[in-house]
Amino acid sequence: MAVASLAPDAGEVDQLYIETRELRLQGFLFFLISDCVLFSSFIFAYLYMRNSGQGWPPPGVQRLDVAFAAWNSVVLFGSGATMHYALENFKYGHFMRYMWFLLATIVLGVMFLGGQAYEYNHLIFGEHVTWAGSGIFGASFFTLTGMHGFHVFIGVCYLTVLVLQSAAGVYTRGKYFGITAGTLYWHFVDVIWVVLFSIFYLL
């Protein structure tokens, strides 16, 4: 794969681009806000059901394995750090370092999804805790972590597209909103996981 370097004069942008980028950034932040409301609603549902039942975890369900999920969280938070360095390196023109950090983010994201798959496998086939068959525990745990995992999956796909686009020279020193949006999205998914980890594993 031929990797194009950034053209030296590519830092120049016109007024139309600057204003359009401002609109896109604002719109993307609003999208994240409304996505956040989607998670908040399910989190509310989980806390509501948890408090209206007879103790937690419900009878017949083991407490979740904190240690494994904690390591998995470290993987995801690490991917947040690599994503941050990817964007910063791009801004300062270090294209190859940007690409390596981006690839590292994708690998860590896939590792997180693998960890989640391992945990699901353990819960479903090891402890027979399922989505529909384990009352409100299965309903809230699998729905929320599944939604989050789906967001991570979408993020991984998006970052893969970023890699291909960057290799094709789509982004320049001045025009890289796609990378900014990807970074914001990835951090958003990280923050959601902080909340989910706290309320499912620590609470």
Partner: protein, 558 residues
């Protein structure tokens, strides 16, 4: 950006190439005005279908034992009537319809922030509408527009289709809200500060965050209902630990803001029509503008007043009652400001003005019964009776629909270049006004006497007033037929309107009817409020709008 320099080369100086061909102009159009008209046409088609369902309900209630349709069908009919009126008629007409049509021109923008997203929002809407009506084919939902579990969990197969349809139309609403909010925040013409925006824009500005935030909460509730029904995941199923009351929380956390989604843009329409036809500056501009924002904010804090009979914790009941009372204050500010606007004005009783004044009267009545219902002791007495039905129709038909009709008579010349016929319009108004009150006033005392809503039969002692309501509702339907005839007739034979038939002062009236696809040849500079009828227009740079000269900036590819 609102104070960007002239000819900065930014969005304000950028015109897309003219769309070519029928498909790009009128079907998959990116032009906000065309998309607005598409919303209006689609919304009014669904309005006719919902109206047929409403007349089915009224015809069933001619006799205490019904007999027009079976009780099961009756349940399906009122469920779909309510759902369709809320999600397919009132919300899309007021936000996607009038919002798209008017507000980008009013703030001096060339289009909304994301035209492609706008087109996508629109095309999701008719698809979800067809899905909603298609649920009749597989057994429509039967638990009312609120679809409370556990009844909705046991409902027929169409209930899942209902959830999917409402989810989709919610996605459309969310995208519209996001689009409008960015447009208003970032794309106002130079000098168009927040406190110079027309009040219709303030209505949309207060509505957009509600669309964006509250609708997502509904999406979560609907998704949970769908997977509960289809995959047996027990969110709402009390036999497996789920909670039906949780649905009510999630549903009303959306649906209470939704009633403001359905009324704030109508407030905006009224605030444009009243000063124009009273020839007098709007009274209390800032009060009207900020009370819209206050209503939007408070709207998120009152949802549980729908649940006073649902086993809400007692310590929660009193705060929700008090907050509900508080929300009456900004609403009252608006009513008094509109009344003061009329006072001493040279009132011209055009049809749009009649509907606007009718709106103020009927919405006030609906608001007052709302204050009744906020009181827990009273609410416990009339909950689930026709009093509620009377209340909601006073605010949604007497309020929102009257606002929509006022907007149609007011802005029809702007979208078509021709005026609606005033004689037919006055017949429409008076028959509708009389029919409406005849239909919904008796519901208040029927409800006080204990006639339950959502039941296919009733006690014979209520026969007289039910028949009275039914005949009055036929009158209302006839008035709406006059309206449709008026539209179809006026598109071809209506009087030519010219750019500004009403002598109105907001920006959309300073450009030709219909406006060019790029809205303005020069983006104007704004110097003040649009409502001061004693002063010259507060705009500069509009001199060439009504001439044949080409736009000041050349069209170019993005």
């Amino acid at each position: 950006m609102s104070v960007a320099a002239v000819h900065s080369g930014g969005i304000a100086d950028h015109i897309h190439p003219e769309p070519q061909g029928f498909i790009r102009r009128y079907v998959f159009s990116l032009d906000h005005k065309i998309i607005g008209i598409q919303y209006l046409v689609t919304g009014f088609v669904f309005f006719m279908l919902s109206g047929l369902l409403a007349e089915t309900i009224r015809t069933q209630l001619l006799n205490p034992n019904g007999g027009f349709v079976s009780p099961e069908t009756y349940n399906e009919v009122y469920s779909i009537h309510g759902s369709a009126m809320v999600w397919l008629v009132v919300i899309p007409l007021l936000t996607g319809g009038f919002g798209n049509l008017v507000f980008p021109v009013q703030i001096g923008a060339r289009d909304v922030a994301f035209p492609w997203l706008n087109m996508l929002s629109f095309w999701i809407f008719p698809v979800s509408g067809l899905m909603l009506f298609s649920s009749f084919l597989m057994g429509a939902p039967t638990a009312g527009w609120m679809e409370y579990p556990p009844v909705s969990l046991q409902g027929q197969a169409g209930t899942s289709m209902w959830a999917a349809a409402i989810f989709l139309v919610g996605v459309s609403s969310t995208m519209t809200g996001l689009n409008f909010l960015v447009t208003i925040l970032k794309m106002r013409a130079p000098g168009m500060t927040f406190t110079r925006m027309p009040l219709f824009v303030w209505g949309q500005f207060a509505t957009a965050p509600l669309l964006m935030i509250a609708t997502t909460a509904l999406a979560a509730a609907l998704a949970a209902l769908f997977i509960n029904r289809e995959f047996g995941v027990p969110f709402y199923d009390p036999t497996k630990g789920g909670s039906p009351v949780m649905w009510q929380h999630m549903f009303w956390f959306y649906s209470h803001p939704a009633v403001y989604i359905m009324i704030l843009p109508a407030f905006g329409i009224i605030s444009e029509v009243l000063p124009t036809f009273a020839r007098k500056s709007i009274f209390g501009y800032k009060m009207i503008a900020f009370s819209s924002a206050a209503i939007a904010l408070l709207g998120f804090m009152v949802w549980a007043h729908h649940m006073f009979t649902s086993g809400l914790a007692p310590f929660l009941q009193l705060p929700f009652m008090i907050l509900t009372y508080i929300i009456g204050v900004p609403t009252g500010i608006k009513i008094f400001s509109w009344t003061a606007t009329l006072w001493g004005g040279k009132i011209h009783y055009s049809t749009a003005m009649l509907f606007a004044i009718g709106f103020v009267a009927l919405f006030t009545l609906g608001g007052i019964t709302g204050i009744f219902l906020a009181a827990i002791p009273f609410d416990l007495h009339v909950h689930g009776t026709y009093f509620i039905v009377g209340h909601i129709h006073y605010v949604l038909v007497g309020g929102s629909m009257m606002g929509i009709f006022a907007g149609m008579y007011y802005w029809f010349p702007k979208m078509s270049g021709r005026l609606l016929n005033e004689t037919l319009g006055k017949w429409h108004f008076w028959l509708f006004f009389i029919g409406f009150n005849g239909t919904f006033i008796p519901m208040h005392w029927l409800g006080m006497l204990g006639m339950p809503r959502e039941v296919a039969t009733y006690d014979p002692q209520f026969t007289f007033w039910n028949r009275f309501e039914t005949f009055a509702s036929y009158l209302m339907t006839f008035a709406i037929l006059i309206f449709f005839v008026n539209i179809i007739w006026s598109i071809r034979y209506g009087k030519k309107a010219g750019a500004n038939p009403w002598g109105a002062r907001t920006l959309e009236w300073q450009v030709p009817s219909p406006p060019h696809y790029y809205n303005f040849k020069h983006v104007p500079t704004v110097y003040g409020l649009p409502y001061d009828f004693s002063q010259p227009l507060p705009y500069k740079g509009l001199e060439e709008e009504l001439t044949d000269s080409p736009p000041a900036v050349a069209a170019g590819a993005h």
